[in-house]
């Protein structure tokens, strides 16, 4: 406070008029208060408070009416009296305030957003005012200190009134900005208890027992699509390719179509190659090999590019008489999404004797293709919304787990790792122990300044991992006694405790151990003598997905065990014991 005053003193050539003004105001305030009490609404009170002399001075000199400072319901008669104070003149010199005022007067009639702006403007405007207010609070003569508190609290209170749910009928882009506004996302800190999520067995039991009330409608929808089969055949015969889009699994529909095509073929049955694009690990090579299998007597080179060249030249020489039909389920699946893959497929289907029926599931799949690829593909698009669940395409349980960052495709957590370690030689176990210890030490040292490296790391949340591993352990039926010995509470119960989210950040700091450092440590501990042996040991870990390797920003390789901290600690305990 004194500092501020000193500042002001420095700015103001003559500090005395201020005091005079304050004195006059002090006189005025009691005069206005009866009016305030008459108007019981708090807004009325606030409006008077807003009209603190210094601020009013600022506006009044340009615009005599208090209009610019939003709904001032009750204007005190005292205002004009204060108007001619020198501070007013001083304030008026500020270009910023002038422009603010102009902006404000424009925005005034606008809706909520404008009000928010106004609030900001108001806050800026209030800076000067609050100086005065602070002083007021300090000066014992002024009325209750709650006043100033209220003044400052007012914008906050207003902000709190704003509901997190969007105002109705926002156009889509406005909704986007509304939902993405800074600080606008108030998601609760609730967490989903792991025991709620179903495992594979439970899930399938439930889904198989589920009777869709829409089954009849879905069937009817499918029959609607059946009616266009003849049309599709015609389109394929005219050299177009077909792309089916829309919600729902189109697999069955397309297979029905294949049956239909087969049955409708007049003399020679068409050769149809089916590609399940959703199969994990599918590559363009598989597709090319499958196509080449239909054409006999082809010895294919190893590289996909050369393979395609050979296929194309073979097709030029001897085109298959009934054209070959290629069915690709989920052409836009992540497996096939690479630009090169799509380009090669496009090149393959440009040939007149290969026709393609593809299904696409994502809403924005046309973005996969540029102009030339789109032209090569020569698609006719048909809306084939089926509403059938993606039964084959998605591994629901895995997908949900991956989405929530729970357990991954690896051995069942800590117990799985322990199981693997049991079958490994002694020095492998030692190496793993060193790795885990190093990792823990590293986590301890770098805890405060943690930055998560890359997005592949999935070891951030210990409890989730732990919970999942418990589930899996229960499934596998190999509950190790050591854990109970260590006296940890039953995780299922502990999980529900609200302390979980707090524990999270510290555990999310798992950085890998530097490859070189680990090697040296291993040599020191006589785990291995050469790098080759070291690599061999590591490979075993990699094969079981017990170790993740990644490169940090500096390009050094870092190794880490993808597990939560508590799990790691438990692991170390077990390994030490042995």
């Amino acid at each position: 406070m004194p500092k501020r005053r000193a500042e002001e003193a420095a700015i103001d050539e003559d500090p005395t008029p201020r005091k005079i003004r304050r004195a006059t105001r002090d006189d005025d305030e009691p005069a206005s208060s009866p009016q305030v009490s008459a108007a019981v609404t708090p807004s009325g009170r606030k409006s008077i408070l807003r009209g603190t002399p210094s601020k009013l001075n600022g506006t009044a000199s340009v615009e005599p009416t208090p209009k610019s400072l939003r709904k001032v319901l009750f204007t005190t008669p005292a205002k004009p009296a204060v108007e001619e104070t020198p501070t007013a003149v001083r304030n008026d010199r500020s270009a910023r305030r002038k422009s603010q005022r102009i902006l404000q007067s424009h925005d005034e009639s606008d809706d909520e957003d404008a009000e928010a702006d106004e609030e900001i403007a108001q806050q800026i405007l209030d800076e000067d005012a609050s100086e005065d207010d602070d002083e007021e609070a300090a000066v014992p003569i002024t009325d209750t200190p709650t006043k100033s508190g209220k003044l400052r609290g007012r914008p906050k209170g207003r902000r709190r009134e704003r509901t997190p749910s969007p105002p109705p009928d926002l156009p889509p882009h406005e909704l986007y900005f509304f939902q993405n506004r800074a600080g606008g996302n108030k998601t609760s800190a609730n967490t989903l208890p792991s025991h709620l999520l179903l495992g594979h067995d439970d899930y399938f039991a439930q889904i198989n027992a589920y009777k869709d009330p829409h089954a009849a409608d879905i069937k009817q929808l499918k029959h609607l699509h059946y009616r266009s089969f003849d049309q599709w055949i015609f389109e394929l015969e005219e050299g177009f390719n077909i792309c089916l889009y829309g919600y729902g699994s189109k697999r069955e529909l397309v297979m029905e179509f294949a049956e239909h095509m087969y049955a409708q073929a007049e003399c020679e049955k068409p050769s149809i190659v089916v590609v399940n694009g959703y199969t994990p690990g599918l590559t363009i090579r598989d597709i090319l090999v499958a196509v080449s299998k239909v054409m006999t007597g082809l010895k294919l080179p190893a590289q996909p590019g050369a393979m395609l060249d050979m296929l194309m030249s073979k097709l030029e020489d001897t085109a298959p008489t009934p054209p070959l039909t290629l069915i690709i389920h989920s052409l836009d699946h992540a497996n096939l999404r690479k630009g090169n893959t799509q380009a090669m497929l496009a090149r393959l289907v440009t040939h007149s004797s290969i026709s393609l029926i593809a299904t696409c599931d994502t809403p924005n799949f046309p973005l996969l293709w540029d102009v030339s690829i789109t032209r090569q593909l020569g698609f006719l698009y048909h809306d084939a919304t089926t509403f059938q669940p993606y039964r084959v395409e998605i591994d629901v349980v895995e997908e949900v787990n991956a989405l929530l960052g729970r357990s991954r495709r690896r051995l069942g957590g800590k117990d799985g790792v322990a199981y693997v370690l049991k079958s490994l030689p002694e020095n492998a176990r030692d190496l793993f122990r060193i790795l885990v210890e190093e990792q823990l030490a590293l986590a301890d040292s770098s805890e405060p300044s943690t930055t998560l490296g890359d997005a592949t790391a999935d070891s951030e949340d210990d409890d989730d991992l732990l919970g999942a591993s418990d589930d899996e352990a229960a499934l596998a039926g190999q509950d190790t006694p050591s854990r109970r010995v260590r006296g940890r509470g039953r995780p299922a119960k502990r999980k529900a405790t609200p302390s979980r989210p707090i524990a999270r950040p510290s555990a999310s700091a798992m950085e890998g151990v530097e490859y070189r450092a680990l090697y040296l440590k291993a040599v020191e501990a006589f785990v291995c003598t050469s790098e080759l042996a070291f690599r061999t040991l590591l490979k075993e870990f990699h094969d079981h997905a017990m170790v993740e390797s990644r490169r940090d920003a500096a390009g050094t390789e870092r190794l880490g065990v993808p597990m939560g901290r508590e799990e790691l600690e438990a692991l170390v305990g077990e390994l030490m014991k042995k």
Partner: protein, 677 residues
């Protein structure tokens, strides 16, 4: 089948027994029974159409191609100045068309054994090494006839000494020497897409090797030469010795193809709506002319496939070829009904009776009518051609394209359009030399019945011209200023006098002729410019449906998915979900509908739409559980079932790319797509 669903790729085998007992070939029934005949008809119609289009396309850039070829042939002598001979093929903004120019050039060049044609694309090579590697492999490999020769060459290289790296241009040099090649044509089809530095380096290296490898570069330029020159450093530009080649602009190509497709002797006319949509798409979006021909093909396909009455279009159709239900279909046509009403109004009840009751008379009548109606369509097309010719001869601005005029004619709006009024007004005042020019162009276009009148006009002008000795063109009286102010100074007095200029008798006579010509044309126009939709049986030969075209070529997959999920009843047609959605029958209320009867993913989607950028899964689950249980308390089993559905819905949302995992907060997922954006 089901056991192969997890297999990556396999060859399909029908589910039924080998003999195919499960399914038989289903023969089409009902109106579809005539499909086979229609299909042959379609093929006939389309092949003639296609032939015309191909003729046009093959002639379009013929001169440019010839120039390019001449340039390439002339080069070997010219390439002595240590500069890289370069052809700059300017193709305007239509980057799509030059593909065809280069494609045809490549087939032409392939006929020369001493030339190698190497097309390079920006996408194939991102750095110099990759570029050269790609260049060398395609140069040495594309000679398929010489497959064994290349083997020899490899061993030859091995013999000579150290093995060369595969991006060493020495490889190419040796190959060129060995096979006696005197030209290596490198084509940068999309020169704009190449990285500037790469392009500069490549040019410089080519410049270094020009004494050993006879390079010729061709650049496809979509923007301008200045742009290319600016991008390249001076050192690279200095290596080039360029020559410019212009290609036909895409707009022009489009017009020409339109002319070919929409001509006098088509069997099937497309309406203005369809044409406009197709032309607009073609102009607004990059796409080669083949996209346009595809659209034409698809339009004919849908017409012949979906409209069984197209059967009547086939030549030499006899009564017994037409199934009975087709006649019933004819009687249900809108144009049939209006026609019958007209007949009744003119008191031809007998005819109407026979049309309604006898298939044979209906057949004869409609075949006869079809010929005459199609004739009217032809004269409509021809009339639009006349208007376009007149306008272009008179150079009326703004210039209206041929396609626009034809579309106007097809829409039936041309007759009262300002376009035509201006034309007629201009004709009225055109001088004789212009009129003669017009007549010369119009006369071959008018139908025979009116040709006599036109030739009479020509004769009259001729006689008038013989009588006149001045040789100056005659002027129409309307062309001269009608009123002139004359100021005369007479004895310090100014007299203002208004007077009409003296009309020469020859001009007066000429004006009569012009008027005759004008009236003749006007009569012709009013007679022929009809609305095609008013013709009897227009459904058979006139196709103007935009929707199949739009849906098939310009899909909105995202909108489809959003609609399916926010309004499942639109697809499922069920009453349970539709009730709330349809009662509101406003789109605004769509996102408020949340019913337990919705499919689970749809419920999830609604919740998804309502939530913010970050979604807490725990909250989502409780909301989902509350909605799908419909407010009732659920027992444990019900909740587990809900959980299964929840998980499935969540997985589906992720699969469709609507949500993605996030690390911002525990148990939260991030929203990816906003509805309607």
């Amino acid at each position: 089948m089901s056991d192969r669903q997890y297999e990556a790729c396999y060859t399909f085998e029908a589910k039924g027994t080998p003999q195919g007992t499960k399914r038989k070939r289903a023969d089409p029934v009902g109106l579809h029974a005539s499909w086979k005949r229609r299909r042959t008809l379609f093929e006939q119609v389309w092949s003639s159409q296609k032939q015309k289009i191909e003729e046009v396309l093959s002639t379009i850039n013929a001169s440019t191609l010839q120039d390019l070829l001449n340039y390439l042939n002339a080069r070997p002598e010219g390439a002595r100045r240590n500069r890289l001979p370069t052809g700059l093929v300017l193709s305007g903004s239509a980057s799509a068309t030059y593909g065809s120019v280069f494609a045809r050039l490549s087939s032409l060049v392939a006929s020369f054994p001493d030339k190698i044609y190497i097309p390079v694309k920006a996408a194939t090579a991102t750095n110099l090494k990759g570029f050269l590697k790609c260049l060398i492999t395609s140069a040495t490999n594309n000679d398929s006839s010489n497959a064994d020769g290349s083997d020899d060459e490899k061993s030859g290289l091995g013999r000579k000494g150290p093995r060369l790296l595969n991006y060493d241009l020495q490889n190419l040099s040796e190959y060129v020497q060995k096979n006696g090649i005197n030209q290596v044509v490198v084509v940068f089809q999309d020169s704009e897409a190449f990285d500037t530095n790469l392009l500069a380096e490549v040019i410089k290296i080519f410049g270094c090797w020009i004494d050993r490898i006879p390079f010729v570069c061709l650049f496809g330029i979509a923007t301008s030469i200045d742009n290319l020159q600016q991008r390249l450093p001076r050192a690279a530009v200095r290596c080039l010795d360029g020559q410019l080649f212009n290609t036909v602009r895409a707009d022009e190509v489009l017009e020409q193809v339109f002319r070919a497709a929409h001509s006098f002797d088509t069997q099937l006319w497309f309406g203005s709506g369809l044409w406009n949509t197709m032309l607009e798409r073609q102009r607004n979006h990059l796409g080669g002319i083949d996209a346009f021909t595809d659209a034409l093909l698809y339009a004919s396909m849908s017409h012949f496939f979906a409209n069984s009455l197209t059967l009547f279009l086939s030549e030499g159709l006899s009564f017994k070829d037409v199934p009975n239900d087709h006649f019933e279909a004819v009687r249900n046509l809108g144009s049939f009904q209006t026609h019958v009403r007209r007949l009744l109004d003119s008191g031809k009840a007998q005819l109407v009776h026979s049309l309604l009751h006898s298939n044979t008379s209906l057949f004869d009548y409609s075949m006869k009518q079809l010929t005459s109606e199609r004739h009217r369509m032809r004269s409509l097309t021809q009339c639009a051609v006349i208007i376009h010719t007149l306008r272009s001869r008179l150079a009326i601005t703004p210039a209206t394209s041929y396609s626009a005029i034809q579309c106007g004619a097809l829409a039936g709006t041309l007759r009262d359009s300002p376009l035509l009024r201006i034309l007629m007004a201009t004709i009225k005042r055109c001088p004789s030399n212009v009129l003669e020019d017009l007549l010369a162009h119009v006369q071959p276009l008018v139908p025979d019945s009116q040709a006599v009148d036109f030739s009479a006009i020509v004769d009259d002008i001729q006689t008038l011209r013989k009588a006149d000795i001045s040789g100056a063109p005659f002027r129409s009286t309307l062309d001269t200023p009608s009123m002139a102010l004359h100021t005369t100074m007479m004895a310090q007095k100014v007299t203002l006098s208004k007077s009409k200029p003296a009309i020469l008798p020859r001009d007066a006579a000429y004006s009569d002729i012009v008027q005759r010509f004008h009236d003749l044309l006007a009569g012709h126009f009013t007679q022929t410019l009809i609305d095609p939709r008013s013709l009897f049986l227009n459904e058979v030969f006139f196709y103007d449906l935009k929707s199949p075209y739009r849906e098939v070529f310009m899909p909105k997959p995202r909108a489809a998915i959003e609609r399916a999920l926010s309004n499942p009843a639109d697809y499922l047609g069920c009453s349970c979900c539709g009730a709330s959605g349809q009662s509101s029958d406003g789109k605004e209320n769509d996102d408020v509908t949340l019913a337990p009867s919705h499919p689970s993913t749809a419920i999830m989607y609604q919740l998804y739409v309502q939530s913010g950028a970050l979604i807490n899964v725990a909250d989502l689950w409780s909301a989902f559980n509350a909605v799908s249980s419909g407010g009732e308390d659920m027992d444990e089993d019900g909740e587990r079932m809900n959980m299964a559905l929840f998980q499935r819905a969540l997985a589906e949302l992720r699969y469709m790319g609507l949500i993605k995992p996030t690390r911002k907060k525990a148990d939260c997922v991030a929203k990816v797509l906003w509805k309607g954006l």
